[in-house]
Amino acid sequence: MKLLTLVFFCLLPVSSMAHHVLGRPSYSLGEDSNTPPSMQVETQIGEYYVTYMAFPAFPKPNEPGRLNLYAKRIDNGKSFPGQVTFKVLDDNWFSSKEELLGTQAPDDSVFRQGFVFSKEGDYIIRAEFQDKEPYIIDFPLRIGEPSAIGPLGLTVGLIVVILISVNLTQRRRMQRLQAGRHHAENQHNSP
């Protein structure tokens, strides 16, 4: 049986503008603008259009949040009637830790899942449901501030390493050239 899986590999804090581009998260205010903004991703997988919403858009550790998921068939627009299981994974190549968040039945066609994360970091929320075939959809969720020192430190480090390596190489080349010149001059001057 074919397993339909959707993974957002690009887990940078990608966002989008006023309109929703499939697969790209967008930020929007609710009708009541006193509430914090939410993050929404619309995409498609197999027979379904899937809309995923995280509220608040920028959750912090120990702050309760919720996920809403809505799936409708592309061909006839009917909502998915079954259950959806939500799991959470560390967004880390070296970790395969997976935790169950809960299994939800539709509430007015929307699958709602609450969450509280205790640690900052990048996570993957996995939603699984079964129609004629199993569907697995992964969405990125960042808790807390992104790590900005990483890329900056990496770039500065890389530049320093490149400059030092080239400087050393170039000095050696110059020394070799000078030595060669001296050698040639000595040979020329010798009787």
Binding site: L4, L6, V7, F8, F9, C10, L12, P13, V14, S15, S16, M17, A18, H19, V21, L22, G23, R24, Y27, S28, L29, S33, P36, P37, T43, Q44, I45, G46, A57, F58, I74, P146, A148, P151, L152, T155, L158, I159, I162, L163, V166, N167, T169, Q170, R171, R173, M174
Partner: protein
């Protein structure tokens, strides 16, 4: 008049895009005027022959008061240093905003300044200032400062191996590749909507520029690898301003060529040009090294006829012709992806091939097709033309020569398309400048979006007039380039046939661009 919008209207591509803010398309009245102008210019181009090869020039040094001021500016390094410092500071602020600021793109300086102001405004600036951007480009300036360890004056090259660029890389294929990658990142991956990714891109390009400088002599990155620089270079060939000798005779008698070699304090030309003998702006970075090192102070900014360089002087090259084709197709592709129907098309393709997530496979297929179709049409047209006129010129030479008229078509559409972005999407930039990191800001509300949509910087009627004018100007330049280049073909070739076939191609491409401008376009911000 032909209502070709109806002819070209296929299923789903003229949706009004419910829930989306749309830029209005070019009205029919302007379209009719463009079509009429295109028909008349086509007939003129086919039935008349090119005039003599002249380029009227006027050095800005001759201006009454500002001429002297400009002369001081271009011959002393501190003015350029001040501009460079300013742009590098802004660039650093962009990186900091992108890495540490809000991920909401319309509230972050990294995305608004980079993609809405700089990326759109840059193309417009090329028309007025030629390749001046390259002189202050923070990618190159930061890399140069780090490698030379000096803010100005000639460095001692201890941080550079000064190797010669390998022969295989001495062309602009790397820049073409970079252009394709950047477009994919911009439109497919959605770099324009991610402050963080925008900052990362800035850092990556600085590292690339730096690596190029530590390995190779002069500025190989600017000359061969930078797609932005090459785009500016080709478009600058149409600009009415360029750095040129004030008196060509002085340059002809010059034996020391400081402009090429530099002097004790000033760097040599970064792209290996002898400015006194150069008639082509494609590789000039306006860096000021020639104007500062010239012992006769004979190099300055000058005015010339719009497009005269492309009409008379740009030398055709195989790799550069491909760059122009990529430029032409990808500028049109930009417009295509902003049509409300594009996403539906990608979605349908994704369903057909089982793509999901950001639908990057489907997008990439669309992008490849958008590049390949015009390229293949052009390649086939040139092949047929070569057979029809029994040309003895090799295919590559004809291919490169006849690609030159495509430059103004790409430039005109690029400018017309960018006007929409700049006039409508740059509203609100002052708030972003006041709070570049977008701390404690919220996404655009429906009301704000509506206000932006309803109050562009420039009234719609003016924008439409400018767009129409640009398309006609672009076509007129294309026709003149074609006339001149066809006149340069060996005697005995059927010039009317060359001009006729190529004009048909130019008309088709112009109509495609006009059709794209007619469509309502999805706002990015």
């Amino acid at each position: 008049m032909i209502d070709f919008s109806a002819l070209l209207n296929w299923d789903g591509l003229r949706l009004t895009g419910e829930g989306m803010m749309m830029h209005p398309g070019l009205p029919d009245g302007w379209v009719n005027l463009i079509v009429l102008s295109v028909v008349l210019l086509s007939l003129y181009g086919i039935l008349t022959t090119a005039g003599p090869q002249t380029e009227r020039r006027y050095s800005l040094r001759g201006l009454p008061v500002s001429g002297k001021l400009l002369h001081r500016m271009v011959t002393r390094p501190w003015v350029l240093l001040a501009f460079r410092s300013l742009f590098v500071s802004i660039f650093l602020l962009v990186i900091i905003s992108g890495l540490f600021g809000t991920p909401i793109p319309e509230r972050n300086l990294a995305t608004t300044l980079t993609w809405t102001i700089w990326w759109t405004g840059l193309i417009i600036a090329v028309f007025f200032f030629g390749s001046a951007w390259c002189a202050v480009c923070p990618w190159d300036v930061s890399a140069t400062w780090l490698v030379r360890l000096r803010l100005w004056q000639r460095g001692n090259n201890t941080n550079s191996l000064q190797l010669k660029v390998p022969k295989q890389l001495r062309n602009i294929w790397p820049a073409t590749l970079m252009f394709v990658v950047l477009t994919w990142l911009e439109l497919g991956y959605g770099m324009t909507t991610s402050p963080y990714a925008t900052a990362l891109l800035c850092l990556v390009i600085v590292v690339l520029a730096l690596v190029s400088q530590v390995l190779y002599e002069r500025k190989a990155f600017c000359r061969y690898f930078c797609s932005v620089g090459r785009t500016i270079g080709f478009y600058a060939g149409l600009s009415p301003v360029a750095i040129r000798p004030v008196d060509e005779n002085i340059c002809l008698q010059c034996k020391t060529l400081e402009c090429y070699h530099g002097n004790q304090t000033i760097e040599p030309c970064p792209t290996s040009l002898v400015i006194g003998r150069s008639k082509q702006n494609t590789f000039c970075t306006s860096c000021g090294a020639c104007s500062q090192s010239c012992p006769y102070q004979n190099v300055n900014w000058g005015l010339r006829n719009i497009g005269s360089e492309a009409i008379h002087f740009i030398r055709p090259h195989w790799d550069e012709a491909w760059f122009v084709l990529v430029l032409l197709s990808l500028t049109a592709f930009h417009g295509l992806t902003m049509l409300p129907g594009w996403e539906q098309w990608v979605s349908r393709l994704a369903q057909a091939i089982g793509d999901s997530g950001q639908l990057l496979w489907s997008f990439s297929i669309g992008m490849i097709l958008a590049m390949l179709i015009p390229m293949m049409i052009y390649a086939v047209v040139i092949l047929l033309l070569k057979v029809a006129i029994k040309s003895e010129q090799e295919y590559k030479r004809l291919f490169a020569l006849l690609a030159l008229p495509l430059i103004p078509l790409a430039f005109a559409y690029h400018l017309a398309h960018n006007l929409n972005h700049l006039f409508r999407e740059s509203i609100g930039i002052s708030a972003v400048i006041m709070n570049p990191l977008g701390r404690d800001t919220l996404p655009l509300s429906g009301h704000e979006l509506h206000m932006r949509h309803m109050s562009p910087l420039v009234p719609d009627a003016w924008t439409f007039a400018m767009q129409a004018g640009l398309i006609v100007l672009g076509f007129q330049l294309a026709v003149r380039i074609l006339q001149n280049r066809a006149a340069g073909l060996p005697a005995g070739y059927d010039q009317i046939m060359v001009k006729g076939v190529m004009t048909l191609l130019l008309v088709s491409l112009t109509l495609l661009n006009v059709w794209l401008l007619m469509q309502p376009m999805v706002m990015r911000m």
